[in-house]
């Protein structure tokens, strides 16, 4: 009955009535998404739903101007450093960033250069497993973790970080060990300014060398910034209502720019598309998350605007295989043995098995039928909108004969003989990912009746915790660019210390070396060549299945004005920077 729900819903909504002509709450924007945020701590969060909120309540040093992914404007910084204005040294290793005068935090206390330094240091030294800290650790201290491979903290990191980030009057000076071209674009999306005093008063790190290790790799909920905010952004956090999966932001009237036009922004998770759509039609929601499979249901709805063909800097969806699944207390691997009722923890470390899965998916069918022909098959983890993408790279296609061959070879024939059962997961409400799971399940199960896959939707925070805990055998998720560079895809998706490989327990030294080389390479042609090699290995080793390079659409009421698309923005084009938006 539940399965018939979407079809019936579509039928019901097909005859949906005309909409209200005027907005019910002219100064409040309501956005309905799929999921609740995970954490509001900028040093912890590494997911789009959380970062959509973070980007609206904090100020980064810089931000991208409009839809550009190259041109920056200053936010907490007073100027954008460049060689021309002398704020970037000739050797490209020193960045002098003057801090904007007169800015205050949400509690009215003034922002100092020391707060900015603290925010950058905290972002790096927090360094939770598979978190975003490496984005600044890499360029500033030339390492991607504060811990060694055994997980032991390297006490020298603080000194290196403190040397790299210094205060000079009302300026913050960054001293890089070697030039890093995307430095400013990283700071346009990461390490926003947080209040050192407030965090310390609430029991968080006080910024001292003596205490930083205590706050390294902490638990999610232990941070005072997990569900509270003390930033300088255009909106303040009014309430995070976990029961109703709703975050309410209220305008910051002390914002250093003209205060936002909207008084409130409500970001609410409503997992059922039908309810989201009805609320949009009735004017109780102003914008909703809606993916390509439901596009036709939103066309020609009075008062609803579909802004299509938005280019993306993402790779979504992707199916990741966990090479070493955590067995302890894990309900997603059945019996935990290869006995037809489960899978052993190292199940997906078998290359034949991964290739068998790669040949079991109908990529073209997915693009044609699910994505309604929008997008092209991905040839690697670097999207086609970025330099480094290799359009000539070989790809997998649906070939059940080849899939069977690989299944028969996997684990010396044991897989074919005994069969398996595991849980394939995606985040609740994501129709495209759900369909991907169902297609993969159907194809794989059709090859051998002993193969069984249970498809299971998980709520976003639960899903994140489960995959980061290496508990999910295969999980479907996507990746948005951290900054506009190929490195932001190859590192988190293929480098052993990147977000996904770390949780997958995937490591290939050749790939790691190529990625490290490419990061240091300044010759664009050579860099492209290195990335081509990385993508060839990606194809050969199949640590994940990339599906498509996509274009998306935004759904909003026609009274919503001022929105612009920037593919770097978290959860774009559904999420938005609400500062310039208003309602007519």
């Amino acid at each position: 009955m539940i399965r018939a729900f979407p079809a019936l819903l579509a039928l019901c909504l097909f005859t949906a009535p005309a909409s209200a002509a005027r907005s019910k709450n002219p100064d409040t924007l309501t956005r309905l998404g799929l999921s609740d945020a995970d954490s509001l701590d900028p040093a912890w969060s590494y997911d789009t739903f959380s970062h959509e909120v973070i980007a609206n309540v904090y100020d980064y040093l810089f931000m991208f101007e409009g839809g550009s992914v190259e041109k920056l404007i200053p936010l907490a910084a007073a100027k954008v450093p460049s060689r021309a204005n002398g704020l970037i040294s000739a050797d490209g290793k020193t960045y002098t960033i003057p801090i904007r005068a007169g800015m205050v935090f949400h509690d009215g206390t003034p922002v100092t250069a020391e707060d900015v330094r603290y925010s950058i240091l905290r972002f790096m030294l927090f360094d939770r497993d598979a978190g975003p800290s490496s984005l600044l650790l890499q360029p500033l201290v030339d390492r991607d973790s504060t811990r060694d491979s055994t997980g032991k903290i390297d006490p020298k990191v603080f000194a290196d970080a403190a040397k790299a980030v210094q205060v000079d009057g009302d300026k913050v000076v960054l001293r890089l060990p070697k030039p890093f071209a995307p430095m400013l674009t990283v700071l346009a999306s990461w390490a926003p300014v947080v209040s050192r005093k407030w965090v310390a008063e609430k029991g968080g790190w006080d910024g001292a060398e003596a205490t930083w290790q205590k706050f390294n790799n902490p638990s999610k909920t232990s941070s005072p910034l997990h569900e509270a905010v003390m930033g300088t952004g255009p909106f303040k956090l009014e309430r995070w209502d976990r029961n109703n999966k709703q975050i309410v932001l209220v305008r910051n009237d002390r914002y250093w720019r003209t205060p936002a036009k909207l008084k409130r922004v409500v970001i609410k998770a409503v997992s059922e598309f039908g309810t989201r759509k009805l609320m949009l039609q009735a004017g109780d929601a102003d914008t909703i998350t809606a993916d390509r499979p439901v596009f036709s249901q939103l066309q020609n709805v009075p008062g609803v605007e579909l802004i299509d063909d938005q280019q993306m800097l993402d790779m979504n969806p992707v199916a990741f295989f966990t090479f070493k699944i955590k067995e302890t207390g894990n309900p997603y691997i059945g019996s935990g043995k290869l006995d037809g009722e489960g899978v052993p923890p190292d199940f997906f470390s078998d290359l034949d098995l991964r290739r068998a899965f790669a040949y079991s998916f109908d990529y073209k069918g997915f693009i044609k039928d699910v994505m309604r022909g929008k997008g092209t098959q991905a040839t690697g983890c670097i999207p086609n909108t970025l330099p480094g993408h290799n359009p000539k790279q070989a790809t997998y296609s649906l070939d059940l004969k080849k899939a069977e061959e690989h299944f028969r070879k996997a684990r010396g024939g044991e897989v074919w003989e005994k069969g398996f059962r595991f849980t394939l997961s995606y985040n609740t409400g994501n129709v495209a990912r759900e369909t991907l799971c169902q297609i993969l399940k159907r194809q794989v199960e059709s090859i051998n009746p002993k193969f069984k896959i249970d498809v299971r939707p998980l709520e976003w925070p639960t899903f994140l915790d489960a995959y980061k805990g290496s508990k999910l055998p295969v999980f479907i998720i996507g990746w948005n660019a951290d900054f506009p560079d190929a490195h932001t895809f190859v590192f988190p998706m293929l480098h052993s210390r990147g977000d996904y490989p770390f949780t997958q327990r995937f490591k290939d030294e050749r790939i790691d070396k190529l990625i490290d080389q490419a990061l240091d390479e300044t010759d664009l042609a050579k860099r492209k060549d290195l990335y081509a090699k990385v993508q060839a290995l990606e194809y050969e080793l199949v640590p994940h299945l990339v599906i498509l390079d996509t274009v998306r659409f935004r759904t909003q009421r026609d009274w919503v004005k001022g929105w612009y698309h920037n593919p770097i923005f978290p959860d774009a084009p559904y999420g938005a920077y609400y500062y310039p938006i208003w309602k007519e």
Binding site: L8, L9, L13, R239, A282, D284, K326, G329, P457
Partner: protein
């Protein structure tokens, strides 16, 4: 009567104990590692899982394990729900009042309309009202709740803009979360009266209309048919004929005599209906984006959130036992012979 109620009350802890034994026995199908997940709040605690297993005696003999687990249950420590991202007891406190409110909003109309229409239907057998009630019963019983819910939403929300989904509107949301609103019971209808906030009361009541109407239509069918058949049986009995022969008015015969005796199966069914509603009405809560306990329970089951499932099962069991007891008391009220026996 008091003695009767006392006896039933005395049995209550014993029955609940039986329920806990049953749930505990079901837990034994899980490995000690998976049972240890009941006590894990942070994934990093998994590194110290053995210590958790030791602390909670998860490898000890069953009676020791049971006693250790029961002690925690008795003090309300039901573990941490990954789905709700809060302790299970807090999740129950957060979600149950909404469901309780919805249950009351739906149950009494179900009861009154079901019994009234069932009686009318029996008294006017094969007349228009009987055919009409049959139509209501058949459509109500066969119509999936999500179909009816969506249709109601389309008409009354989509078209007429009258009853929105959710538990309250945005304005009320801001008001109930402000400092000027005191949360006393968690039941917003009650709390709004206590706070003298009639705008909240009407808003919450309006949001209850469609989900409760859905539940009334769907759940009333069975009650209506049971009342009808029970009434038909009673109306054919000798004492009814005697009552009529004595010259009692038809109204008195039906209301005072026949219906009183016809109520026993209705009481049984009503208690089950009540528990069913209290346990959460998943599809209705989902369609109307209503933050009740049913949605949480099903999410917990879907996401293999063992503490969540266990907490929700314990709550359902407790409600079932209490409702059964209340049904027993209601039997005794309806039929004095039960008290005597």
């Amino acid at each position: 009567m008091l003695r009767f109620v006392g006896k039933r009350l005395a049995l209550l802890p014993l029955v609940m104990l039986g329920v806990t034994v049953l749930l505990f026995a079901l837990l034994q199908f899980l490995t000690p590692e998976m049972r240890a997940a009941l006590y894990v709040k942070d994934p990093r605690q998994l590194a110290a899982l053995e210590a958790i297993i030791q602390k909670h005696h998860l490898r000890d003999p069953l009676p020791i394990q049971y006693w250790s687990w029961l002690k925690q249950v008795l003090v309300g420590d039901l573990g941490y729900s990954e789905t709700a991202k809060m302790p299970v007891a807090d999740a129950i406190r957060a979600f149950f009042p909404a469901t309780l409110e919805l249950t009351f909003a739906a149950f009494f109309p179900i009861l009154f309309i079901g019994v009234w229409l069932g009686t009318k239907s029996a008294v006017h057998k094969d007349k228009f009202v009987d055919h009409f009630s049959r139509f209501v019963a058949i459509t109500g019983y066969s119509l999936p709740s999500f179909v009816l819910g969506l249709l109601l939403l389309m008409i009354f929300y989509g078209k007429m803009k009258m009853f929105a989904p959710g538990r309250y509107s945005l304005d009320v949301d801001l008001l109930v979360h402000s400092d000027e609103f005191r949360h006393v019971t968690g039941l917003l209808l009650v709390d709004s009266v206590l706070n003298w906030k009639w705008s909240v009361f009407w808003d919450v009541a309006k949001h209850l209309v469609l989900p409760s109407a859905t539940l009334v239509y769907i759940s009333m069918a069975l009650l209506l048919r049971i009342t009808r058949s029970s009434m038909l049986e009673e109306l054919g009995k000798d004492y009814v004929r005697t009552a009529r022969a004595k010259g009692l008015s038809e109204r008195a015969v039906i209301n005072k005599h026949a219906r009183a005796n016809a109520l026993i199966p209705v009481v049984t069914l009503s208690s089950l209906l009540f528990v069913g509603l209290l346990g959460g009405v998943v599809i209705t809560e989902t369609v109307f984006d209503y933050p009740g306990i049913g949605r949480w329970g099903v999410n917990a089951a879907q996401q293999l959130d063992i503490p969540g499932v266990l907490g929700s099962a314990l709550l359902s069991s407790l409600l079932f036992v209490v409702a059964n007891m209340l049904a027993d008391v209601a039997y005794a009220l309806v039929d004095p012979r039960i008290r005597v026996q």
